[in-house]
Amino acid sequence: MDALLDVRGLSVDFHTPRGRVHALRDVDLRVPRGEVVGLVGESGCGKSTLISAVMRLLADNAEIRGGQVVFDGRDILKLSERELRRLRGERIAMVFQDPMTALNPVLPIATQAIDVQYRVRAGKTEKRRRAIAMLRRVGIPDPERRIDRYPHEFSGGMRQRICIALALIAGPDLLIADEPTTALDVTLEAQIIQLVRELKDEVRGSILFVSHHLGLVAELCDRVTVMYAGEVVETGTVHDVFHRPRHPYTQALLLCDPARIEAATRDLPTIEGEVPSLIRLPEGCVFRPRCPHAFERCLAPPPLYAAADREWDAGQGHAARCHLLDHG
């Protein structure tokens, strides 16, 4: 069954004064229809670049070196700007990380909510009505009056809800949430997650949930992909990846997750070493310099191997980019 979003072998470089930054290397990502897929990794691993590439909103100095981004059968990378605009907002919608700066400060919410529906053939009153209904759905109290307010009159949590509402108004097939709760405090985060959970069942489409918060991803997602330094290192169902992680990086990441710490301690576990420079990559496996299990084979870059207990079939099953999984 073909997936809604199928990223195949995507490689993206950035041209910077210090050299070519290999931000994404041969990245595969699949979002099946109707599923919630998580994308995790630390800051700088390439999650945002991947998202921007999917939306074709990369910076001017970015260069797509290869690969495909197939959305509902069509390669986004080959579409014209006009065709892209038809996708954005209507079939793929995005919720950004920082709600405080995501909305235009000098336009009232109503204007922005109606603008977002500009493709819809309906009168302003109808669009306004839909906007109000969606605001109510995401939990904004008294939406008929508050829709005419300005963004700064809402708190951060409310603004994020508004952003979610805007994203959902057109009923997109794919909702991309780029770390939607990172900028919010814990209580607000819980509320937003609760909202997403409720909406998950209503939203007919798929959700791509980007986060560095493993616990959230575990709660919300069906499948998860782990990225490190511009590559996909592990992918599988949430259960597989989080309970039987195969890649040393994933294992280390889970160990470091504060939620997992059982005994009170002063020393938080960390992963030794530093994220490598994306301009000068280490030879072979990108995690090799920090990997406790590295051996001589690791000098050759590993492909994605199927985890022994599952079939790996481009998207189904469980796989990790580590020579330790090579059984044949």
């Binding site: 939306m55 909103l57 892209l84 605009r85 038809r86 996708l87 954005r88 907002g89 209507e90 919608a93 995005m94 950004f96 920082d98 700066t101 995501a102 909305l103 235009n104 400060p105 000098v106 336009l107 603008d115 977002v116 500009y118 493709r119 300005y150 700064h152 009159e153 952003c163 805007l166």
Partner: protein, 314 residues
């Protein structure tokens, strides 16, 4: 917002008062008796006596000052002993011409400046952007009276497309507009460069903001993003600058009125300077200065008002 407004208005008032004091005191700073200083060597003794009487120049300075300031707020700017008319009347007669010129100059320069600035910002790095950049800097640098002279030379004297002198026939709007074209062009040219640069920089900054990225992510048409989303935010600093622009243009208007022999406050001041008629000069300069202060005040308040974030702190 309210507190800001009050403070701002208060400051403006104080500045006007200090300016008035400065202007008034100038005849005392120079050695010599005030009446002679004010009227120059051609004044007859009767005129001097009249001036002293009408303006109370024989009273102690602080009293004079208070009288003068009080008079200004009542609309009395003193009297012109040469023509025996009130200075206020003379200035008010000349003012509309200068205002028309300044308004037209500001209007066209802002309109063109904004368009060029937007264009530069959305075509950043292109040769056209760079050309506009160089032209903007050049326009700012070149003195406006030279522009006036050259445009007089080119369009009025050599090509004879537009009139060289005067304000046109009273009552005939078309004719008056024709006479305004070259002077308005001359005083506005520098400001086009200023505005184009400011809008470009403002737009570039705004286009990098997150809410623009959001608008793009929703697939909004680029046109709407540039004008409705970016320009509405980027234009705010320009509004604040309009007040300063008026001061700039008023200075340019003095030269433009002289080069094109137009009636107006600039020409009035100039003639009065040549005639050594300080009461008129003082009155006219005071009026223009107050207009300038008022313009900057309104521009500042308007800029604050247009930004809903500032407005909200009412």
């Amino acid at each position: 917002m309210l507190i800001y407004s009050v403070k701002r208005i208060g400051l403006a008032l104080i500045i006007v008062l200090v300016a008035m004091t400065m202007l008034f005191s100038m005849i005392y700073v120079v050695p010599g008796d005030p009446a002679s200083i004010a009227l120059g060597p051609r004044a007859t003794p009767e005129m001097k006596t009249q001036l002293i009487a009408r303006m109370g120049l024989d009273q102690p300075l602080p009293v004079q000052l208070v009288n003068f300031i009080g008079g200004v707020f009542r609309g009395d700017l003193g009297v012109d002993v040469w023509s025996n008319r009130s200075v206020a009347a003379i200035v008010l007669e000349a003012l509309p011409h200068t205002l028309a010129l300044t308004a037209l100059g500001l209007g066209w320069s802002v309109a063109l400046g904004v368009v060029l600035g937007c264009f530069s910002a959305t075509h950043r790095g292109s040769w056209l952007d760079r050309a506009i950049g160089v032209l903007s800097v050049s326009a700012i640098a070149v003195p406006s009276f030279v522009v006036a002279l050259y445009s007089l030379l080119a369009f009025a004297v050599a090509l004879k497309w537009l009139p060289a002198i005067g304000a046109g026939e009273a009552g005939k709007l078309g004719d008056q507009l024709r006479h305004l074209v070259l002077p308005a062009f001359a005083i506005g040219l520098g400001w086009v460069g200023y505005i184009a640069r400011l809008v470009r920089a403002s737009m570039l900054e705004v286009m990098g903001e997150n809410f623009i990225r959001t608008a793009r992510a929703f697939g909004l048409p680029e046109r709407r993003i540039v004008y409705r989303y970016a320009l509405t935010v980027a234009i705010l600093p320009t509004v604040a600058l309009l007040g300063v622009g008026i001061g700039n243009l008023l200075s340019g208007a003095v030269f433009a009125e002289i080069v094109f022999a137009r009636p107006g406050v600039g020409k009035l001041i100039y003639d009065s300077v040549l005639n050594r008629n300080y009461p008129v000069v003082m009155g006219a300069v005071l009026v223009t200065t107050m207009l300038y202060v008022l313009a900057t005040l309104i521009a500042d308040l308007l800029a604050a008002l247009l930004d809903p974030r500032v407005r909200a702190n009412f």
